[in-house]
Each structure stands twice: as C-alpha cells, then as structure tokens.
C-alpha cells in the first residue's frame, strides 16, 4: 500500500471516464470512499516517509506525518461530502471528473516533499480550479475564468522563478535537502527565492495585496464549487506555503512580516464585506478574512497558536461547506444570490443552518469556532502579543455586524418564496451542524491531534 494511491486512484478513475459515461456520480463517490479507506489504513502507520520509484535521496519523496494526515483526511472528507451531497445531480455530471482530479491535485500538494513535484500538483489543482470556475458556461463564468487564469499564470511564473533559482544555486529538489542547504546559499538569492515563493503562494493563499481577484472568482463559479474553493483549495496552498517556510527555517523578522500581512488582510477583507450586496461575495470576503487569521496564526511559530489554527481550518471548512451548500439551495429557488433574494426565502431549516454557520465562524460558543478562536487567543496571550488579541476581537466584531445583518434581514423581511429542502440535503447539512456542535462541546480529542500536527508543521521536513 503506497502513498501514491491517494494520487493515482482518482486520476485512474478520471482517465477511464469513457467507460462509464453516465455513472460518473457513483464512481466519484466510490473513489472518495476508497480514499477514505486508505486514510484510515494509514492512520495507524503515521508518520511515514515513502520514496517513489527508486534510490531514495534522488527520487520524489512523499511524506505523511500528523499534519499532512490532518489535511488529507479533511480534504477526503470534504470531497466525499461533496460527491455524496450532489449524487442526485442529473445534468452536468462532467464536473465529477474534474473534481476527482482536483482531489488528487490537492492531496498531491499535501503529500509531496519535492519542490518541482509540488509545482506539478500546484498546476493540476489550479487548472481544475480554472475549469470549475468556467462551469456555468455563461458570460460571467468565462470572464471569471479568464481573470483566474491570468492571475494564476502570474503565480506560476513566480513559483517557477523560485524553483529555478533554488535549483541553480542549490542543486537539489527534495525539501529535506533544500532545508538543510538553504542557508549556505548567497544572502541575496535566499531573499529572492523566499520572496518569489511567498508571492507565488501568496496569490493562491489569498493574502492581502494579492487577493483582490478572489471575490470575482467566487461570484463567477457555481456556489457548490465555491464551497470547494474555500474549504479545500486555499487550505492546500496555505499548508504547502507554511510547510516549505518552516522547512527553510525562516528567521523571525520574516515571520513577523507575515503576521502583520495576515492581520491586515483579515481587517481589509472583513471591512469590505460590510457594504457588499451579494451574499456569495460576502462569503468570499469572510473566507478571505478567515484565511488572514489562519495566515496570522500559522506564522506565529507557537505550538498552541498553530494547533488553534489547524482546529480553525477544520471548523472553517465545515462551516463554509454548510453555508455555501445552503446558499446553493437558496440560489436554485430565488435565482439570485443578492441580499434581497437572501432576505426573501422562508425555510426554518435553512435559517438554522445559516445561523449555526455564522455563529461558528464568529467563534461564538457553544460551536466549534469558539474553541479554535480561544486556543489561538490563548496562544497569543502566552506569547504576550496582546495587540494581536485586541485586533482579532475588534475585527471579528465587524464580521459579526454583517453576518447578523443577513440573519435579521431574512428574519424580519417579507417572505417571497418557500424552500423545500430535499431529504438527502437535509440529512447531510444537519450532519455538518451536529459535527460543529459536537466539536464545540467535546473538542479535546481533536485538539490533542492538532497539537501533535502543529509540532510536526513547525519543525518542517527533517533531513532524512
């Protein structure tokens, strides 16, 4: 049982598409169940280094330690949920081929410990994202896809530049040897390589000056796909960036700079959501804000804060899945995602799901978001960084304003349409809500796992 099956199985399934043209939905569910089986199989064998093809230090290495296992199981869970959720989707089943490859791209980004291999999976995930953006096949979708491709191309240029300079001056591609030899390089090249990797990944992890394109993409893509973007794609890039950063043993001022950038992007994202009139864009701004918090927390190199950030990643993915899928149901009925349409639907079930999602995103007890925020703030307090604590709380107050404005808009305005939520969707959404509530009340098990994962993330890839 090799780690590569995480990548090979979804790709094999999509290569064989012509054989099962109209059973794609079921195949996609089957693939995800198989991947979940692999993840369970590997759980007992953590941590695991595996060498693809041959002679260890020279070939591509896959690493599955606590933190990559955390992300692998999160992504497989989200994709399994996505394929199960839309199993009744009759038209447009071609999307499942692209999502399969999207899964293998995301899993590859997490598992691979070879810089050029990471670039390949970077491209796989990005191209499947371009296609998913253009899925609606209308003017808006294509203009979003074109914008995404141009910005994505710029990101891959920077990443390529970084990898080339690294190979030119260091000669090795595996992360462990890069980590070991990085500080022997000339100072200027070190700074330039770090900078181009930061910009390359920064565009994809949607950090402040580089994330002005994101809201348009979320608006252009179908709502269910936007859930995948915010729950899987940006988290994969975030992990890879910090995985490389901690392997290269970056010095303190650089981490401080990243913390400041994270805080700024949290503030600007939440502020611009205040006046937005489109609910999908509001959710996009909220994802940008949460990514800012994650960036801020992950760059603190403190085990408690990073474990809180990992916990927040899981909670944010679940909440965003809930929110985007319910918004998808609203959009199907009201044919628009503007705030007026959002205010006009009547469905007690959907309203509770939205309320639970908002409360958990705001970090309000008894939902899981609170535990994540509390751990992060506790970590910062023990580091003595009270300024950051104050800033996070103030900005999440802004976040509370626009989330609750949506809730009160729906609760107090004239209802125009009744939404009947199909049974399957109802069960799955309430499963998610229960998961958030359960994690909020009994978080200890997951928190311990997050602490081990945080330790392995901060220590980076050790020279094997």
């Amino acid at each position: 049982m090799s780690l590569v099956y995480f990548i090979a199985i979804p790709i094999l399934a999509s290569f064989l598409t012509p054989f099962y043209k109209n059973y794609l939905r079921f195949v996609s569910v089957l693939v995800n169940i198989l991947l979940a089986g692999f993840a369970a199989f590997f759980y007992s064998r953590l941590p695991l280094n595996e060498f693809i093809s041959l002679d260890s230090p020279l070939s591509i290495i896959f690493i599955l330690d606590y933190v990559s296992f955390f992300f692998v199981s999160l992504f497989i869970g989200v994709m399994l949920f996505f394929s199960l959720y839309s199993i009744k989707e009759k038209n447009n089943t071609a999307v499942f081929v692209v999502t399969n490859i999207f899964t293998s791209g995301a899993l590859g980004l997490i598992l691979s410990a070879d810089i050029f291999n990471i670039y390949i999976f970077f491209e796989i995930a990005s191209i499947s994202a371009y296609i998913l953006t253009g899925l609606n096949r209308d003017k808006v979708a294509y203009s979003g896809a074109i914008k995404y491709m141009i910005v994505g191309a710029v990101a891959s240029i920077f990443l390529l530049l970084g990898i080339m300079l690294m190979y030119l001056n260091l000669g090795y591609l595996t992360l462990s040897s890069i980590g070991a030899g990085f500080h022997t390089m000339d100072k200027g090249i070190q700074y330039l390589v770090l900078l181009s990797l930061f910009i390359g990944f920064g565009i994809k992890t949607e950090i402040l000056p580089l994330n002005f394109w994101v809201a348009d993409i979320y608006q252009a893509t179908p709502t269910k796909i936007a859930a995948l973007f915010s729950a899987v794609l940006s988290k994969a890039y975030l992990f890879v960036f910090f995985h490389i950063l901690y392997t290269l043993k970056v010095d303190a001022p650089a981490l401080l700079f990243l913390t400041a950038i994270g805080l700024l992007s949290f503030a600007v994202a939440e502020l611009s959501a205040l006046r937005s009139k489109d609910v999908k864009r509001i959710f996009a701004y909220s994802t940008l804000g949460q990514l800012g918090v994650l960036f801020l927390a992950l760059s603190s190199a403190n085990v408690v804060v990073v474990s809180g950030a990992l916990f927040l990643i899981l909670v944010h993915s679940i909440s965003k899945l809930m929110l985007f899928f319910s918004l998808d149901l609203v959009e199907k009925k009201m044919h628009s995602t503007r705030v007026e349409a959002f205010a006009g639907f009547r469905s007690a079930f959907l309203f509770t799901i939205f309320a639970i999602g908002f409360l958990s995103l705001l970090g309000i007890p008894p939902f899981a978001g609170f535990i994540a925020k509390l751990t992060i703030l506790k970590g910062f307090a023990s580091m003595g960084a009270y300024g950051i604590v104050g800033a996070i709380l103030a900005i999440s107050l802004v976040e509370a304003t626009y989330f609750f404005r949506l809730l009160s808009a729906n609760q107090r305005s004239k209802k125009t349409a009744e939404i009947k939520v199909p049974l399957l969707q109802k069960i799955m959404l309430s499963l998610l809500a229960l998961a958030i509530l359960y994690l909020g009340l009994f978080p200890q098990g997951l928190l311990d796992f997050c602490t081990d994962a945080a330790q392995t993330l901060i220590q980076g890839v050790i020279h094997v």
């Binding site: 003017k139 294509y142 030119l168």
Partner: protein
C-alpha cells in the same frame, strides 16, 4: 577577443541578460496590452524566456547532451545536467495545455459577450 566570447561565465551573463530582457518585454505586454489574445501571447513569451534562462544557465562550454550516442560512451561529468531539461520539458507541455484552455475561454467569452478588451470585462463586481 574571440576567446573571451567562449567562456562559460560570459555565456551565463549573456543568457541572463538576454532572457530577462525578453522577460521584461513579455511582462510589459501582459500588463499593458488591452487585447486578451495579446495578453496570452505575451504570457507565453514570458514563460519561454524563463525556460531559456534556466536551460541557458545550466549549459557550460564543451558539455555534450546527456545522451549516449556513437560519439560518447559513458555518462560522466562532461555532460549537461539532464534534470533541468526534464523539468522544462514538462513545463513547456503544461504551458501549452494552459494556453489552449485559456484560448477556448477567450473564444467562448468573445462569442457570448462580443468583447475582447480586458478593461471592458465588467460582468463581475458589485455593480449589478
């Protein structure tokens, strides 16, 4: 004078300067030209310049291609490093795959909206 022209260090400087000027020209094209086709054209130019730089700076005078043909019998030091060539080979094909996808998007967008100018793409944003 001709002798200095064949030194590897001189070659590397020529390659670096040459490829980065092409990089600049392509990038200016991407960031200032309004036509979508022109943008993607310049984007390919930028990518090609990076590939030229990478392969160029790995070449050293007197080194042969890493292929054992009639002339050379052994794989040893005086061959060029094969790994960058493998990497560039893959990235060129990725480049063309991305280019083909983006061109279909541009064509479909043009067919649906009749606009090819990047500044007039106003479908997204808060306005409607």
């Amino acid at each position: 004078m001709l002798e200095t022209l064949n030194q590897t260090t001189f070659l590397h400087t020529v390659v670096a300067i040459g490829s980065f000027t092409i990089f600049t020209i392509g990038l200016v094209g991407v960031l200032s030209k309004k036509n979508l086709f022109k943008i993607f054209l310049s984007l390919s130019i930028v990518e090609s310049s990076l590939f030229l730089f990478f392969i160029g700076s790995h070449f050293e005078v007197g080194k042969a291609a890493p292929i054992v043909a009639d002339g050379i019998k052994l794989f040893d030091g005086h061959m060029v490093d094969p790994v960058p060539q493998a990497m560039i080979l893959t990235t060129i094909v990725i480049g063309v795959a991305v280019l083909a996808l983006s061109l279909t998007f541009v064509v479909n967008y043009y067919r649906l909206s009749g606009n090819i100018d990047i500044d007039k793409m106003d479908e997204l944003g808060e306005v409607q």
